[in-house]
Each structure stands twice: as structure tokens, then as C-alpha cells.
């Protein structure tokens, strides 16, 4: 990081805090602080919906995942547009016309206060933990770049976001989200351009894609039906559908976005905007990860992307580490030669020569991966760190080692922006649920706007500190994006089940919804502990069990009672 990079990052942080705090003026009443007086345009809400979902994990974790596993992760998003359509038909008009502040408030209107409180509590628990993980991702990067401790970095990110969210409320969250999305798009565009211009002169984008395709990095559809397989077309279309329905329709951090829209039509349009843009945007992010893979076919990648762990292992067993590194460099050179040969063969018409070059490249790549795996195991055993995984370090190390001055600062600012856009929405949602579903509902029913806004600001601060503490423990949990989704999957399916009962099952009653939710969560716990099914399917299990149990229990309640 040079002076210019620091200046860009500092300018971004200063601007975003100033921009957020100046929204305080329009946030002095409950409706203004929590819902922006229901007056935001659809395009701002739409960008905020996307910014909330796209955390720094999306930038860092997904590009790392594409580098190591290819584009299979894209399948996860195939159901998103269909989920948005279902939500536009169902929950958007329901919530908007019910004039609620939180999704859970609606459950009291439909069932009872017990169900509302329980669902809101589960939201606070799962989202409180989730936002901690979302802070941890950029902290991991910055602790390497800046040489700071992870704890100091976590508090720097978490507290900065907490300050502007605390003062500006949802208006600050939404309008900073819009600007942060612009910064992210600019950052991604610049990275893409620089990677493409960094390939050797005789290697085109098409050549690079052939290399990536031969290595299995461009798989966008996997039709194998295996519940233990993480990303297939089936888990993407069905299991992820349940996750998206729950996340966008029942999670306050997303529901609050469309509740700020001017009308039902504008709320719907904001969700459909996300439906149109999400898959292409995710494709672009994964493509960057794949192109980083192609870049490293011709340039030696670090043997271990986590510099701190690599140095630690090298210091402990320097001779062994040196030998491994020497072998790694040699194997890389062999793979590079094979890659150049494969690219050359692509341009000729000799099919047999092309097949031979392709086989040669695949063999060299396999040997390379074996040595890299050996190096990873070496670090695990030497550092006594069985959960070591450097997939999240791939993109930041690539940026730091290969991007020019100024661009590094821009990318770091974009990663900051991605993190802060999610953190702010979620802190705001956590504060809203704490204030509306607990403080106002149970402790101060006759309170004034001033009291509720003050409580909302204090709650934002407390949740910010809590998230920072969770983040400290979340930095070593493997691929961060999966950790967040796993957190969600434990509660999301069951939460969705309660809303299905509320909106779609006339015979559902409060007792059924309450106990159905508990049955749903218990079923997910059993599925996670006693089966091998992948976590995305937990959403299906939780939802189906909640709806079935909720309906059956409702039959035991007289039809004319609530």
C-alpha cells in the first residue's frame, strides 16, 4: 500500500461517515428513522437490496471459491429471480398494506404476540451472529494488508459502520448503499480490465477461458442429484429457493428495504431489479476469480495465500518448507509450459495435437494441485491449525501483489464498501426489531417518537459491539460465505414455514405456528447432526416440517379461535 492507496481508502471512509451522519436531519421520528417515511424510489431500494446481500464475503470469498472450485457456485443464484416473483405476489403487498415496521409484527396481527416475539428473537440471534461473520471477512484482508491485528481491524470496520447507521438510520443506510454499489461496480470493472491486460501477449481472453474450461472451472450447471453435493442445479433451483424466499421475505434486513419504498409497485420493482441483475453480477464476480486462476497459469502464485500462516510454518520448519517451495516452483514451471503448449495447440487445426496438449496440461495441473494440497497440509500440521484454509486470501493477495498503485486503494475501498453496505442494513434491522418488537411492544407501549429513536440508536450501537465480538471468533471458520449461509440455514427454513402458515394456510392458528416453528428448528438440528445432507437443504427440511407440524397442531385448535 502506497500513500495514494491510503489516501483513497481514507477519503472513502471519511466521505461515507459524513454522508451517513448528515441524514440525521430526516431521521428524528420513528417512521423516518426506521422506514425513511416510506418515501424512497425503487431504484435506490433495489440497489440497497443488492448491496445488503452483497457483502465483502461475496467479493473475497466468491472470487477465492471460483479460483479453487470454478463457477459451480453460480447455480446457487438460479432460483433468486423465481423467489423474487413469488415474494412480489405474496409478502410485498401483505407487509406494505399492513403498515408494519418489521416482518414479525405482521405475525402478531395474524397469530399472537408469542409467535411474533419468538420469530423476532430467532432473527436477532441468527442475524446478530451473521453480521459478525460479515465483519470478519474484510478484517481478514485488512489485517494482512495493514499489518494490524485482526481485533483492531474488526473494531475499525464495525465501529465506523455503526456510527453512521446509528445517526442516520435507514435513510443513511440506503443512500450510502447506493454509492457503495457504484464504487463496487467501478472496482470490479477496473480489476477485470487489469487482469485481461495482464495476460501474456499471445494469450487472449478466449485462450484463457479454454484453459479454465479444460480445468473444470467453467461448470455452470451440474445435473447430478446428490443431497451431499453442495452446488448442483437441484440445490440451486429448489433448496436455494427456500433460502431466498426466507431471506428476502422473512429476514428483517431485507424486508425493511422494500418497506421503505413509496408504494407496493415500487417495492415490487425494486425486487425485480435485483432479480434481473443478480445472476449476471455474480457471474462477473466469479469470472474474475476464474481469470485470476488463468493469470496464475503464467505467473507463479504464492504457495500459500495466507502470508502470516506461511511465514509461521516457514519459521518453524524452514528446511522442509524451502524444499516444498522449490518443488512447487518447479511444478508451476512445468504447468506453465503445458499451458502455453495447450494455448498454441488451440490455434492450430491438428485435433490429435490438441488432445495431446490438453492431456499434458491436465496432467501438469493435477500435479500442481497435489503439491499445493501437500503445502496446505504442511501448514495445517506445522502450525497445528486443523481448520486452516486460505481460499479467502486468494483475491486480496492477488490485488496486493499485482495491481498498480491507486488501484489497490480503490479495491480495498470497494471491499470496505461491500462490507459496510451489508453491515449497516443489518445493524439497522437488528435495531428495528429490538425497538419495535421488544422495547415498544413489551416495555414502553406509550413511548414517544423521541424515546423510540433514541432506543434505536442505542440498540444499533450495542449490536455493533456484539457483532465485532462475534467477528473476533469468526475469522478462522473456513470459507466465510458458507459460514454465513450455514448460520442462516439453521433458522431460515423454519421462519419461512411460519410465514407460509400465516399467508397461505387459512386454517393455521397461533398455537400451530408457534410449535410448528419449534418443530422445524428441531428437525434442522437433527438433520445437521444425524445426516450428511448439505446445509442448503436444511431450508427445505425446516420449512416443510414447520408447515406440516403447524397445520396438524392447528387442527387441534377450535376453528373459530385465533
Amino acid at each position: 500500500m502506497q500513500f495514494l492507496d491510503w489516501a483513497i481508502v481514507a477519503a472513502y471512509l471519511a466521505y461515507v461517515i459524513w454522508d451517513g451522519i448528515r441524514m440525521t436531519k430526516g431521521s428524528d421520528n420513528v417512521e423516518g428513522f426506521f422506514l425513511a417515511n416510506r418515501n424512497l424510489p425503487w431504484w435506490a431500494v433495489g440497489l440497497s437490496v443488492m448491496a445488503t446481500q452483497m457483502s465483502a464475503i461475496t467479493l473475497v470469498g466468491t472470487t477465492g471459491q471460483a479460483y479453487s472450485d470454478g463457477m459451480r457456485f453460480l447455480q446457487f443464484y438460479y432460483a433468486l429471480p423465481f423467489a423474487m416473483i413469488i415474494l412480489c405476489i405474496t409478502v410485498v403487498p401483505f407487509f406494505y398494506r399492513a403498515k408494519v415496521f418489521t416482518a414479525y409484527e405482521y405475525l402478531e396481527k395474524r397469530f399472537d404476540v408469542k409467535t411474533r416475539t419468538l420469530t423476532s428473537l430467532f432473527f436477532l440471534l441468527s442475524r446478530g451472529l451473521g453480521v459478525g461473520v460479515i465483519i470478519a471477512a474484510p478484517a481478514v484482508i485488512l489485517s494482512i494488508v495493514l499489518g494490524w491485528s485482526e481485533i483492531a481491524t474488526i473494531f475499525a470496520i464495525g465501529l465506523t459502520t455503526t456510527i453512521y447507521t446509528m445517526f442516520g438510520g435507514v435513510q443513511a443506510v440506503t443512500w450510502t448503499d447506493v454509492k457503495q454499489m457504484v464504487l463496487i461496480f467501478v472496482g470490479l470493472g477496473v480489476v477485470l480490465f487489469i487482469i485481461l491486460t495482464s495476460f501474456p501477449a499471445d494469450v487472449s481472453l478466449t485462450d484463457g477461458l479454454y484453459l479454465a474450461g479444460a480445468s473444470g472451472k467453467l461448470t455452470t450447471i451440474d445435473t447430478s442429484f446428490d443431497l451431499k453435493e453442495k452446488y448442483t442445479i437441484w440445490s440451486g433451483l429448489f433448496a436455494a429457493l427456500f433460502l431466498f424466499l426466507s431471506y428476502f421475505g422473512c429476514d428483517q434486513s431485507q424486508v425493511q428495504r422494500f418497506l421503505t419504498a413509496k408504494s407496493v409497485a415500487q417495492g415490487r420493482t425494486s425486487l425485480l431489479m435485483s432479480a434481473f441483475l443478480k445472476i449476471p453480477m455474480q457471474f462477473l464476480i466469479l469470472l474474475i476469480g476464474v481469470l485470476v486462476f488463468v493469470f496464475y497459469q503464467f505467473n507463479a502464485p504464492p504457495m500459500i495465500f495466507n502470508d502470516v500462516e506461511a511465514k509461521k510454518a516457514a519459521a518453524t520448519r524452514s528446511v522442509d518448507y524451502g524444499a516444498l517451495e522449490g518443488n512447487y516452483k518447479q511444478i508451476h514451471e512445468q504447468r506453465k509450459t503445458a499451458a502455453v503448449e495447450f494455448v498454441r495447440a488451440q490455434k492450430e487445426t491438428d485435433k490429435a495435437a490438441l488432445d495431446a496438449a490438453r492431456d499434458g496440461y491436465l496432467k501438469a495441473n493435477k500435479e500442481f494441485l497435489a503439491v499445493r494440497k501437500e503445502a496446505t497440509e504442511f501448514v495445517k500440521t506445522t502450525n497445528k491449525n486443523s481448520s486452516f484454509n486460505d481460499v479467502n486470501y486468494v483475491f486480496p493477495m492477488f490485488v496486493i501483489q499485482n495491481m498498480p498503485m491507486g488501484i489497490i486503494g480503490l479495491i480495498i475501498a470497494a471491499i470496505f464498501a461491500a462490507a459496510m453496505s451489508s453491515i449497516s442494513s443489518e445493524l439497522n434491522a437488528l435495531a428495528t426489531a429490538s425497538t419495535i418488537d421488544f422495547y415498544r411492544r413489551h416495555f414502553n407501549k406509550e413511548g414517544t417518537d423521541k424515546q423510540f429513536v433514541m432506543f434505536g440508536r442505542i440498540a444499533t450501537f450495542i449490536w455493533g459491539i456484539f457483532a465485532c465480538i462475534v467477528a473476533i471468533y469468526a475469522t478462522n471458520l473456513g470459507s466465510l460465505i458458507e459460514v454465513v449461509n450455514k448460520f442462516g440455514s439453521f433458522f431460515y427454513g423454519s421462519l419461512l414455514g411460519v410465514f407460509v402458515l400465516a399467508i397461505g394456510v387459512k386454517r393455521a392458528r397461533a398455537r400451530g405456528a408457534f410449535f410448528g416453528l419449534l418443530f422445524g428448528i428441531a428437525s434442522v438440528w437433527i438433520a445437521s447432526n444425524y445426516t450428511d445432507i448439505e446445509f442448503l437443504w436444511f431450508n427445505v427440511v425446516g420449512c416443510v416440517v414447520t408447515v406440516a407440524a403447524g397445520y396438524l397442531i392447528s387442527l387441534t385448535v377450535p376453528e373459530d379461535s385465533k
Binding site: 438460479y78 429471480p81 416473483i85 474450461g213 479444460a214 455452470t220 450447471i221 408504494s263 415500487q266 420493482t269
Partner: protein
Amino acid sequence: MNKEESEVKIDKELPDSWWYRVYAAVAVTTVIVIALLWAFSQYFSS
């Protein structure tokens, strides 16, 4: 259509039939995008 006209149009409570056409367009576009991604994957992996 200028910006103001566009805002006015979108603020009206549009009939369900209009929305269903929009949803159908989103669904069809998604299927086409997924098919294109599959074709992209097949083209460069062969």
C-alpha cells in the same frame, strides 16, 4: 418517456394482469440466461 412520466406510471396500482406479464418476462429471461450460461460452459469445456 421522461423521468417524471416514468415515476407516475410506476406509482399507480397497476392491474394484476400487467404484473403477471412482467413476472412471465422475468421467468423467461432467467431461463434464457441459465441456458446461455450452460452453452458458455459447454463451449469452453469441450
